[in-house]
């Protein structure tokens, strides 16, 4: 389990090729069942490709995607973390977006294994 950078939509290009964690809202699941469209904490849309068939996920759900940014600025995802409705009700997506930037600005305090 390597360090995954917590990012939002506008940071995707910056983190090409790196392992990332993104929390966002599912806007659409492709008919193929392996690809979904995620709205990030800064209201951008990214494409997430999963290695497995995506289950237990519906549009409107908040999920966490763990994977790598590929050269098309899409996420090649190996893990999707789903949450119970009680866990995501009232989730402050704006605050999360600010926190994501906070972690970037304070690498000496948000301690990770690079």
């Amino acid at each position: 389990m390597t360090h995954h950078y917590r990012i939002n939509g506008s940071m995707i290009q910056q983190f090409s090729g790196k392992p990332v964690s993104i929390i966002g809202t599912v806007s659409k699941i492709h008919p193929s069942g392996n690809v979904l469209d995620l709205e990030t904490s800064d209201q951008q849309h990214i494409v997430v490709r999963s290695s497995d068939h995506i289950v237990d996920v519906n549009p409107g759900n908040i999920i966490e995607v763990l994977g790598e940014v590929d050269n098309r600025n899409q996420i090649a995802c190996d893990t999707i973390v789903t949450f119970e409705p009680e866990q995501t009700a009232n989730f402050d997506m704006d605050m999360y977006n600010q926190a994501v930037m906070l972690f970037q600005h304070y690498p000496q305090d948000y301690l990770v294994n690079l």
């Binding site: 301690l111 990770v112 294994n113």
Partner: protein
């Protein structure tokens, strides 16, 4: 000074054990770092145990008890036992082993769920793990968010405290919820008022000393009430004494 205290005398000499100092644990040398540090998994995995500080150290952080939040990647429950072992991942890099001796209440936690753990860091075979005091399922994603922000805040507070007081900070309080210390100088164990009153009384040249009114005149920055309270405290402790009447004081060390 008695003969035998003079040191270097023929015969009886004080000797210190080896080079490691005496075993006087009451001297506070091996005081334990108390308090709970909210931190990332990477912090714990990178920490080294310090014998001299009797705690784990990573960069500017010193800790024994930690609070972490992470995703369960692996869960192992002893079949007929009370030990559950979890490998948790908070994306800071690495997996942290959590040992949880539980009673039979509560359902076992499953992989790919987030949990919050408070526990003590231990090493075994050169590998760290945490013995949990408390484990709770994450109630809300806001909890995870707050936790991550608190990790930054805790680290920042501690770093700033360290910068203020220099490396001589041997305080045991790794109280990290951002509560700032009572830095309004408690010098020598006295408050500013008490210190000021005592210093005034130390300048006394007469046997009568100074009256409350005279002291207040010299310490315009404090109210009469404050001065009176300080006098009460100081005389109670024996630093000052009253002279001709209850209104006049002198410092005991004059």
């Amino acid at each position: 000074m008695a003969l035998w205290e003079q040191g270097g005398g023929s015969g009886f000499q004080q000797r210190k054990a080896g080079g490691s100092g005496d075993n006087d644990t009451g001297s506070g040398q091996r005081s334990t770092v108390k308090g709970v540090l909210t931190c990332t998994v990477a912090t714990i995995l990178n920490a080294k145990h310090s014998e001299s500080d009797n705690c784990f150290v990573y960069k500017h952080l010193k800790f024994n008890t930690v609070m972490v939040m992470g995703l369960i990647r692996e869960a192992n429950h002893e079949v007929n036992g009370s030990l559950a072992t979890y490998q948790i991942d908070d994306h800071s890099g690495g997996l942290l082993e959590i040992k949880w001796w539980h009673d039979d209440s509560g359902e076992p936690m499953k992989p790919l769920t987030y949990i919050k753990v408070v526990g003590q860091v231990k090493t075994f075979n050169n590998k760290v793990h945490v013995v949990a005091h408390h484990i709770n399922k994450m109630q809300s994603l806001n909890e995870l968010l707050a936790h991550s922000i608190e990790c930054v805040h805790a680290s920042m507070s501690i770093r700033k405290q360290g910068e203020l007081t220099g490396s001589g900070m041997t305080s045991n309080t790794s109280h990290t919820s951002g509560q700032t210390q009572q830095s309004s100088a408690i010098a020598n164990g006295f408050t500013p008022v008490q210190n000021a009153v005592l210093n005034v009384l130390k300048t006394v040249t007469t046997m009568t000393g100074y009256s409350v009114t005279e002291i207040c005149k010299q310490l315009k920055q404090f109210s009469e009430n404050q001065v009176k309270q300080a006098l009460e405290f100081l005389s109670g402790e024996g630093h000052i004494y009253s002279t001709t009447d209850d209104d006049h004081f002198r410092a005991a060390s004059n």
